[in-house]
Every structure is written in structure tokens, then in C-alpha cells.
């Protein structure tokens, strides 16, 4: 994770609030022009981390560098970073032009130049000729773009975004995800984005850091974080997963055999887990990694096949899922194939599930409990 010229470097950044450690020895680099997301549940310290980068809070220890210069002790109005606030914080007493021009006015740029630069940046975010309008005359998505324009007009080295899509409705949020990503491309500025919504992070980011309890659990590409989670927390937090508690009964190279408490057996292929026979483990299995099958169709004999009955069908368009109850009474969530094969599935139907040992992830339960 070292890059020749990172825009933002954090080294052992720590922040304590009295006895509570909000951010715990965090180190990371964000290369120039990349989209970096910090993903974590609320209360994990991501907002504190972002506010330290912006300069509203000073770290207890550690170093923070932007373009190689240490930012420790530099007040927020002297840092080459800009922030898009959670509720955008557009100034309601000013019109759009004055909002976007605020930063330039502080720098003492001439009036004529402010006017042209404000028009230019508004055009780049796709909102030409709105300078004269009031903030409350814009829609949610337009305000979003104005907030970004207000930051980008200052040409910051790093743009910080504090869950700016949280207040939007679903349709607009989906749209803004794509738009944010393309804006980031167009401006070629480093974005640091914090969110608790994994789909926002997965869609937009070049790199994601998954944060929990003040620490980074994993830093990696969206693909890695989703398909190769380092820890049980990441596996459970990013994406949907069936979590199965089990005990290791056999280790054969990378192939583990585990038994659940209800007695069913499963095989998981996972190298380097360090698990030994008798240890307790958690298995994470994505709903889309499980295939549905018709029982008695000659699929016997393979690994991880079990029979069950359909418990519930959750219809949600392309994201429809089925919960299947196996013979031991265990519930498993399975993604509905979109081929139409199982479109008529109903509660109580007999069905079989099958998954490849490589598709599951397996982690030792910490504490050995």
C-alpha cells in the first residue's frame, strides 16, 4: 500500500476522547486522483477520522500529511482540503453564486474572476445559470452538486465527503452514486468518502477501508473487500452473508471439514486460516454463492449439498431471496436466480441447495469460545 506520491498519508493516527479511543492507530495512504472510501457502522470513528483530516479535531498522536506536508497544528481554513458536509451546509442566506464564490472571496480573488470561475465550475457540475437562484429553489441532487462545486472551485488537493447521500431518496441516491464517480473522474481530484452504506462504497471506490471500533479491519479494492474479506467483521458487514457457527472436524491441506452444532457437515476450501481440528469457526456464505436445485435430480455426491424446504420467498425484483430450512432446522438465505427457473417457488416446496467449497469464507472465532 505504498504509492510514490500519495495525496493523503496517515501514520498511526489516534484520537482519544477522555477514556474512549475513537480512532486507534490508523495508517493509510490515498494516491492522487483516487476515490477512497471509509466504510463502517455508525460509531466506528469514521466521522472523527474525517474531521481530523479536515482539521476540526486534532489527533492525540500520529501524523497526517497532505501532499507530503504535515497538517498537525494547521487550522481548517489553512488546509488544502475541502469538505462536503453530511447536510451539505450550503449557506441559506446567500444565493448559489455567492455560496460557490465564498471560498474565493476569502482568498481575495477579484470580483470579475470569481464570477467567471463560479460559472465555470457550475457548468462542470452540470448546473449552468443557477448563480442567481436561492438555495431552497434547488432540488436535493442539485444542492449536492452545488456543494461539490463550492469545494471544487478552490481546487483542493483532497475532497472529503461525509455521507452526503444519506439524506436523499433511494432513486436519487442511486443516480448520485454514478454522478459522484464521474465527477471525481472529471476533476481528477482525490476523494475521501465516508459512509455506512456498503453499496455506495462498493460502486464508487477505487479502494475501501472497512473500519470498526476505531481500527481499519481491511483496506482493499471493492472486489477484494467483497470477495476476499480479511476478517469475520468485514465478511459480515460488507454485503449479505449467511453466518454459520461450526467446529472444525478435519483439516486436509486447504480443505476444511466443519460440523455445525446441529450436526450437518460442510466443506470449505480456505488456505491460511490457521484453523486446527476442534477449533470453533464462523463460516460466511454469500446468498448468491448458493445454487438452488431440484431434489433427486442426480446431484447427490458433491460437497455441501443439502435438502430442505422453502421457508419464505422475499420478492424484491432482481434482489429476490429465498430462505431455505434444511433438515436440521437451519435457515439459509439464498439469492433467487434471475433466469426464471424458480419463479414459481412457494413456501413448503422441497428444494436442494449446493455451494462450492471455494465460495465460503472461514474465520476462527476469537477467544476460542
Amino acid at each position: 500500500m505504498t504509492h510514490p506520491n500519495p495525496d493523503l498519508e496517515c501514520r498511526d493516527l489516534t484520537k482519544d476522547f477522555d477514556a474512549f479511543r475513537a480512532v486507534d492507530h490508523i495508517s493509510f495512504d490515498v494516491p492522487q486522483g483516487s476515490f477512497f472510501s471509509i466504510l463502517g457502522p455508525s460509531g466506528c470513528g469514521k466521522t472523527t477520522l474525517l474531521r481530523m483530516i479536515a482539521g476540526f479535531q486534532s489527533p492525540t498522536s500520529g501524523d497526517l500529511r497532505i501532499k507530503g506536508k504535515s497538517m498537525i497544528g494547521v487550522p481548517p481554513n489553512k488546509r488544502p482540503v475541502s469538505m462536503v458536509f453530511q447536510h451539505l451546509a450550503l449557506f441559506p442566506t446567500m444565493n448559489i453564486g455567492d455560496n460557490v464564490g465564498f471560498g474565493l472571496r476569502q482568498r481575495g480573488v477579484s470580483k470579475a474572476e470569481i464570477k467567471t470561475r463560479v460559472e465555470q465550475v457550475l457548468e462542470r457540475v452540470g448546473l449552468p445559470h443557477v448563480s442567481e437562484r436561492r438555495v431552497d429553489q434547488l432540488s436535493g441532487g442539485q444542492k449536492q452538486r452545488v456543494a461539490i462545486a463550492r469545494c471544487m472551485v478552490l481546487e483542493p488537493d483532497v475532497l472529503l465527503l461525509d455521507e452526503p447521500l444519506g439524506a436523499l431518496d433511494l432513486k436519487l441516491r442511486e443516480h448520485m452514486k454514478i454522478e459522484l464517480k464521474s465527477l471525481q473522474h472529471a476533476f481528477n481530484t482525490t476523494f475521501v468518502y465516508i459512509t455506512h452504506d456498503q453499496s455506495e462504497a462498493l460502486v464508487m471506490s477505487d479502494n475501501i477501508a472497512v473500519m470498526n471500533n476505531g481500527r481499519f479491519e481491511q483496506i482493499g479494492s471493492p472486489h477484494d473487500v467483497y470477495h476476499r474479506p480479511d476478517t469475520a467483521f468485514v465478511a459480515g458487514f460488507v454485503g449479505d452473508a449467511n453466518k454459520i457457527d461450526a467446529k472444525v472436524t478435519d483439516v486436509n491441506g486447504a480443505m476444511l471439514t466443519l460440523a455445525t452444532d446441529t450436526g450437518s457437515e460442510m466443506k470449505v476450501e480456505a488456505a491460511g486460516t490457521g484453523l486446527t481440528v476442534g477449533q470453533r469457526a464462523q463460516v460466511f456464505l454469500r446468498p448468491e454463492a448458493i445454487a438452488l436445485g431440484v431434489p433427486d435430480a442426480g446431484t447427490e455426491g458433491g460437497a455441501n449439498i443439502s435438502r430442505g424446504t422453502v421457508e419464505t420467498v422475499f420478492f424484491n425484483g432482481a434482489n429476490s431471496t429465498v430462505t431455505v430450512k434444511d433438515r436440521a432446522g437451519h435457515l439459509v438465505k439464498v439469492a433467487m436466480p434471475q433466469t426464471g427457473d424458480f419463479a414459481t417457488l412457494q413456501r413448503g416446496d422441497a428444494i436442494s441447495t449446493r455451494w462450492h467449497p471455494k465460495q465460503a469464507r472461514c474465520y476462527a472465532v476469537s477467544g476460542g469460545a
Partner: protein, 288 residues
Amino acid sequence: MGSDRSRLGFYLLLAPILLWLVVLIILPHIGLFLVSISEKIGPREYETGFDNYAAFFTEPLYWRTFARTAIMSIMATALTLILGFPIAYYIAKLTRGRTKTTLFLMCMIPFWVSELVRTFGWMILLRETGVISNVLQYLGLVNGPVEMLYNDAAIMVGLVYTSILFMVVPLVTTLDSLDDSLIEAGYDLGGTSTSIMREIVIPHAMPGIVSGCIVVFMLSLGNYLTPILLGGKDSLWFTGMIYTQFITRFNWELGSAFGFLLLALSSLVVFLGLKFSGQSLSETMGRP
């Protein structure tokens, strides 16, 4: 039928305020106006005319007192704003929870006693044999007793003191509603404390500033006790002059005319104040 009933309810609810407006505000003012335009030409003989108003403009004492009252009230309002704004900003933005409540209550506590008692309190402090004079003598800073009462500065102190609460309350309310992230955004975009105060905080607080100023100005202009007690007989105040006409000289006609001139003055100043600050009356005073 349902709409008839709800209409009846509406009028019943409206009745007290209509009654109050008509009986206590409009009727007395009509009466006062009729009195102010009657000229006494003999015992129990009156004529309609504007002589009383003319008397005001021809007698320098009257209109000078009038102008003096207006100017001092404006000054007292400005001073109250300058003193009240930092207090309100501190309470609204820099304190949290209990401290905030306590500070707010401490602003209110002096108002639990009557204005008369508060003004006497100032007299005890400021008079020749008062606390401040004695302390100065004890410290050896002055040789003899100092009289600090009965001048314009004493009036000003009294006016600011009696009305500062009415400035602080609306200011705290509007500043409270200013989202902290707006101030942070200002800093983030490179603003300094001064520019953020000027471009973000003050424009946001403008309705509170204007409504506070209107209330304080009206209170100062219509104040009777403070200027009379702290200003003594050399410091004339227009309300005192109205009192004299009604009570001492039994000249109700001139007194009524003065009353109407004071009403015109306060309306004019408030109108100009709103005009210059770009606010409207409903925006500033009509807010809950």
C-alpha cells in the same frame, strides 16, 4: 352544519383578541386623537384644530426633548446590541446543556424584581454617597465624593440594563437555530472568524437582531421610570413631558398630541430600521 360550528369556534377564539384590539387599543387611540385635535378657547369651550401640534413645533423645549429622546433611545439600542450580541453568541454557540440553561436563567433573574427596585439599585451604586463613590474614595483615586447620578450616562446605563434581556432572548433563539456545520463549512472554505461572522452569522441572526432592536427601542422610547429617576430633573425625557401635561398641568389636549407624536416617531424609526436592514415586520416579529 359542521362548517357552521367550526366557524362559530373560530369567531369565539377570535373574540378575545378582537375585544382587546378594539376596546383597549383602537378606542382609546381614537379618543386620544379627538382630544388632541381640540383646542381650548374658553372654559368648557373647544374648537377643532391642530393648534396643539403647532405648539409642539413652535416651542423648542418640546421638540428638542423629543429629538433627544429619539437619539438617546437609538444609542441605547445600539449599545444594547453591541453588549448583547457577544453574550447571546456565547450562550447559544459556545455552551452546551446545563451551562447554557444556567447562563440563560442568570440573564433572567434580575427581571424577577420590579423595574423600580432595579433602578433604585443603580441609584445606590451611583449616587454621591453610593457604593462606587465610596470605593473610589477608599482607594484614594478621588479626593471627594463623586456624583454619578443625574446625567445622560446614568440614563444610558439604566436603559441598557433594563432592556438587555429583550435583546439577548431573540438573539439566542436565532443563533441557536444556526447550524454549527455552516460555521465549520465557512472555516473549511478558508474563512476567518471575522469573515464568517460578517457573511454567515450576522446575516443568519438578522431577524433576531432586528426584532431585538425594535423591542429595545420601543421600550427605551416609552420608558418613564429610568430616565426620571436616574436622569434627575435636568435630563428631560419625552414620556416625562407627556406625564407633566396630563397630571401636573391638566392639559390633556397637548398631552394627547404629544402621545400621537411619540407614536408617529416610533413607527417612523422602526419603518426606517426595517427598510435599511432589508427585513420585514412579519419576518422578524412574526416568528414563533
